[in-house]
């Protein structure tokens, strides 16, 4: 069942939690609501669920207006960050709760309920824990039970509020994969809230990035990472290296650093955003950029060597970061404290008067320059 969100507004006192949010959630897909705390993502999820009411706007489930429908009649499954299992009920009783809450006419018989519970226990791979109490389970197990409980009544829509937020890293990863597999098998329409970019990009089919009560960008994970269309999304999704300076005679200049930018008009402030993988290191400046950096730290763990670099003779609010393969690292042997030069291949330029970035490709330009001159 698809979800349509139309012009939703919500204020808490003077705080505007949601500012005219409109959104389409496709059927059968896993959608992530991603944003920093206070961005309104949880509020939006709760409004979709009906746990919170909006001040204005509409929510439609498959074309049907449910804005004024009570939570209990919306037929949604909701999973809470802190599980919200009923402490005094066993795992099986917890899972059966929704089925037993159905009006008498629709309620399955006792045997049917027991069967359904068994099936769900099978699905969450915890059949041996049916008679345990929640306090006897680990965090990961609790969240699985919570999920089974939410799915027991076969809801049209599954909503998850930071479902992995309270779990430790290892369990989180396992559960993430498991949820993805479960989703691929059953294809329910689901929305989950997270502030973890990695989680959002890894798990979802579609990511909705939110900030200050507004939707910043809606895209597939790959598109979102490759083509962020605002400074905020850039900053929020993974690390980004920033050179902010002034454009003078087709160069972006700050202190000792400059990058050539053919085709720019002069005398305006601008920022160049570079992902770590869009920057290579070299012992000497290139023809199109001079970005002196001193190596601050080298991290060898992982599939790539990660280097943190401090600007030399210019400034950046955060350290620069880049990676190189282990083979390259062994060959070039950079050491801490050495001065190196960053050579950008592709960059994203934000000019003073525009919110949208312009992509700059130096490889392409170098080639073009070489052929034209």
């Amino acid at each position: 069942m698809s979800i349509t969100i139309q012009n939703i507004n919500k204020t808490f006192g003077k705080f505007q939690a949601l500012n005219n949010v409109s959104l389409d959630i496709p059927e059968g897909k896993l959608t992530a609501l991603l944003g920093p705390s206070g961005s309104g993502k949880t509020t939006l999820l709760r409004i979709i669920a009906g746990l919170e009411s909006s001040d204005a706007g509409k929510i439609l489930f498959g074309g049907e207006d449910v804005s004024h429908l009570h939570v209990r009649n919306r037929n949604i499954g909701f999973v809470f960050q802190h599980y919200a299992l009923f402490r005094h009920l066993t795992v099986a009783q917890n899972i059966a709760f929704g089925l037993e809450s159905l009006p008498r006419k629709e309620r399955p018989s006792k045997q049917d309920i027991a069967q359904r519970v068994d099936k769900l226990l099978e699905m969450i791979q915890l059949p041996q824990l049916a008679d345990r109490y929640p306090s006897q389970l680990s965090g990961g197990q609790k969240q699985r039970v919570a999920l089974a409980r939410a799915l027991a009544t076969q809801p049209r829509i599954l909503l998850l509020d930071e479902p992995f937020g309270a779990l430790d890293a290892k369990v989180r990863k396992d559960l993430r994969r498991w949820l993805r597999a479960l989703h691929d098998e059953y294809h329910f329409t689901s929305i989950f809230v997270t502030h973890d970019q990695e989680e959002a990009l890894e798990l979802s089919d579609q990511v909705v990035v939110m900030s200050q009560g507004k939707v910043e960008q809606v895209d597939s994970p790959a598109q979102l990472y490759a083509r962020p269309d605002s400074r905020f999304v850039f900053d929020f999704l993974g690390h980004v290296n920033v050179l902010s300076g002034v454009v003078k005679s087709q160069k972006l200049v700050q202190g000792d650093a400059w990058v050539s930018l053919p085709g720019t008009r002069g005398d305006q402030e601008a920022q160049l955003y570079l992902r770590p993988h869009e920057v290579q290191l070299s012992r000497s400046p290139s023809t199109h950029a001079r970005l002196p950096l001193r190596i601050q730290s080298i991290s060898l763990i992982g599939s790539e060597v990660r280097l943190e670099l401090a600007p030399e003779g210019w400034e950046s609010s955060e350290l620069w970061e880049t990676g190189m393969s282990h083979g390259e690292f062994a060959q070039q042997n950079p050491t801490r404290g050495e001065l190196w030069y960053a050579v950008p291949s592709v960059g994203h330029l934000f000019e003073a008067n525009s919110h949208q970035p312009r992509t700059v490709d130096w490889n392409f330009q170098d080639a073009a320059n070489a052929s034209s001159m």
Partner: protein
């Protein structure tokens, strides 16, 4: 062990437990606490037993089974039960309102709940007697309805309920506050009706505290004296409570009989307290994992 060995080697003490403690003064503080507990609690208890030990078994049985005393047990028991059950309902409601809703004057009401603790019980008794007397503010209206409160067992119930309501409110309140709203939201999102949410989600977490509160209220009511004697009328066989019987025996300089009756009250109170604690710890063990 030589002195040098003691200083060079990591100190090995005879009481291995002691070296593990970080906070100093365990022995001293425990000693003082125990001393005061015995002074406050054990001494009077012992006194009571010593006083009654002057009696023979037959005398003891005769004193505590005197028909007038027996009648006072009955009156005390049923009035205390009625008062604590009333408090169970009303106290739960009060705690619910104080935790769940925001309204002007909430802080004031929250503070007023403790008033019965702070107020001298005699003052409470006189006030209640004045209010509920046939010409009192409440009494004149109740009189028209044909209900007599002052100087009847109902008056005892009123006095008991008044003095022991904070027990219920103050035991239920923190539990209610700790209830996670997510639990209720989870239940509602699963389609449960409001009634079902209360019965299946809220009440099960609440009722251990409620039972404790009611039991404490009951135990307190069993021994209430000051507030009751002004409003009860104290008619023998009708509206005399057990604590009044103790007082009457004391006035007759029959210390042994007073102690004998007192020891019965004490016994019942202790058994009740003990039972509450055992029951509660069993219940909590299940919720917090074995």
């Amino acid at each position: 062990m030589s002195v040098s060995a003691q200083t060079s080697v990591a100190p090995v003490r005879r009481f291995s437990g002691r070296s593990k403690r970080v906070l100093p003064g365990f022995g001293l503080s425990l000693g003082i606490s125990l001393f005061f507990v015995s002074l406050v609690l054990l001494l009077p208890l012992t006194g009571l037993v010593v006083e009654t030990s002057g009696m023979t078994w037959d005398q003891f049985v005769f004193t505590i089974t005197d028909p007038r005393v027996i009648e006072s047990y009955k009156v005390t028991a049923w009035t205390a039960l009625a008062a604590s059950l009333f408090n169970g309902v009303f106290g739960l409601l009060l705690a619910w309102v104080l935790v769940r809703y925001e309204f002007p004057g909430k802080r004031l009401i929250d503070a007023v709940v403790d008033l019965p603790f702070a107020l001298p019980t005699a003052v409470a008794g006189i006030t209640l007697a004045t209010l509920f007397a046939q010409n009192g503010w409440y009494g004149q209206w109740l009189d028209k309805l044909g209900v007599e409160v002052a100087f009847t067992p109902i008056g005892i119930v009123v006095a008991m309920a008044f003095t022991s309501i904070p027990f219920v409110v103050r035991t239920v309140q923190p539990v209610l506050e700790e209830l996670s709203p997510a639990d209720e939201e989870a239940a509602v999102s699963l389609g449960a009706s409001d009634g079902r949410v209360f019965r299946k989600v809220i009440f099960p977490s609440l009722w251990p505290a409620l039972v404790t509160g009611v039991a404490l209220s009951f135990t307190r009511s069993l021994g209430e004296f000051g507030a009751i004697i002004f409003i009860a009328g104290n008619t023998p066989y009708v509206s005399e409570v057990t604590s009044l019987m103790i007082f009457i025996r004391l006035q007759e300089y029959d210390y042994a009989a007073a102690s004998a009756i007192a020891s019965m009250v004490l016994l019942v109170s202790l058994i009740l307290l003990f039972a509450i604690n055992v029951w509660q710890s069993r219940f909590l063990r299940r919720l917090e994992g074995r």
